[in-house]
Amino acid sequence: MMTINIDKFSGPLSLLLQIIEKEELDITSVNLAKIADEYLEYIKKSEEIRPEAMADFLLMAAKLLYIKSKALLPYLFSEEDQAELDDLAGKLKMYKDFVHLSQKVNKIIGRKRFSFFRSLPKSGRRLNILSDCFFPPKNVSTDVLWTEFKKVLENINFLEEELEKKTILDEVKIEDRIVFIKNIISQKIKINFSNILREAVSRTEIIVNFLAILELVKQKEIIFTQDDLFGEIFLESYQELEIIN
């Protein structure tokens, strides 16, 4: 596998685009299905994807697997689904357009034809445009400052919470889930998917679990059955089944 410089892609679409271009493929749903595995390989190997971005990379992985399964089992999919899949190809093309534009913009900036606004004294104590130099504001008192600062603190706390939420995402790793699911299955013969998801708190975790199962299916560790559309998914150990049969 040719190495792709991770620095160069600023998101899952960027990675997709690079793989597509490297393989010299056109952007079509069919070709997206072809590169699904390669995409997964990259995000599995890459240690440089920031935790905050991982959710988006995984979401894309799920989409690609969906497209791939559609290519393998077309009769399971409706026309609506097809439109969705074409959408991804369309979005990737749109993204490609903007990447090209950004290269043009970069060239324009590179000419260094900057404009400048009026300058200020470099270390001027005060900037004095009128003869006076103190213009007291009407709406300020110590109480106003106090209230205002409390608002600032509230905003900061909010910000921190948001960030913490995002970093937690990193803690769910496909590898860990694979081991986890393997363990459960080795203890029980059959388990339902919702059981595995019981502790999942985020969309990313659900996706990671799902990916882990797909991986295990691929490795012929487990098989799954689903009786109804959107019904419960049951997981069973592949080996157990072989012995029984």
Binding site: E52, D97, F98, I109, K112, R113, F114, F116, F117, L120
Partner: protein, 208 residues
């Protein structure tokens, strides 16, 4: 023309960009007259090889030095503007320049990745501006005059293929579509419902 003369003086003394509304209020002239005068002034500057420019973005105007003199002015001011941007910053700025005002959710649809941090970063650098919407999700982003300054153009419309990408049905279609497949597939109907209720609740709390 008197108005053009006044506008030139105003642009010169102002240390900040002036909005069209401020200029109208201050000159006590019609919007159309003011716009016409700005256009004339700006064209005089460009056509007569002058050392000044009026740069415009998002109905804000500011006087700036002309881009031909960039090197010498930079030396005079001893400033070290490098204009180098990371790929992610560049990509985000380009999309905002061509498609602004643009919402975060639309930006994320184009880039396929969460943009909270990069937006914050660009806001701090003063390369973009945020226009508050009714709710947080409605906030829209535009590039700042500070960014236009780097380009050495008077107006974003001078960017290559601006019209084509600014108004583009194909893009509108792609952005306008929600992603129902993935929401329902992954979140399940229940969560979608929950989100809807939360949204309603938020709106309520705003209204009250």
């Amino acid at each position: 023309m008197e108005l053009k003369n006044l506008l030139e003086s105003l642009f010169f003394v102002s240390y900040r960009p002036l909005t069209i509304k401020e200029l109208v209020d201050f000159s006590k002239k019609d919007l159309l007259e003011v716009e016409e005068a700005i256009k004339e002034l700006s064209e005089e500057y460009s056509n007569n090889n002058r050392g000044l420019r009026i740069i415009e973005n998002n109905k804000k105007y500011q006087m700036a030095s002309s881009p031909e003199n960039a090197k010498l002015i930079q030396a005079f001011l001893q400033s070290e503007v490098s204009g180098e941007l990371t790929p992610a910053s560049l990509e985000t700025l380009t999309i905002i320049a061509y498609r602004g005002p643009i919402k975060k959710i639309e930006l994320e649809k184009i880039r396929g990745i969460n943009c909270s941090l990069i937006l914050r970063n660009l806001l701090i650098k003063g390369l973009i501006e945020e226009k508050a919407g009714r709710e947080d999700d409605d906030n829209e982003y535009v590039v700042s005059l500070e960014f236009v300054k780097f380009l050495g153009i008077d107006n974003l419309k001078d960017l290559p293929e601006y019209e084509k990408f600014n108004k583009n049905e194909e893009i509108d279609k792609l952005l306008g579509k929600t992603d129902p497949l993935w929401q329902s597939a992954i979140l399940g109907e229940d969560e979608e419902e929950k989100e809807k209720k939360e949204e309603e609740a938020d709106e309520d709390s705003l209204d009250n």
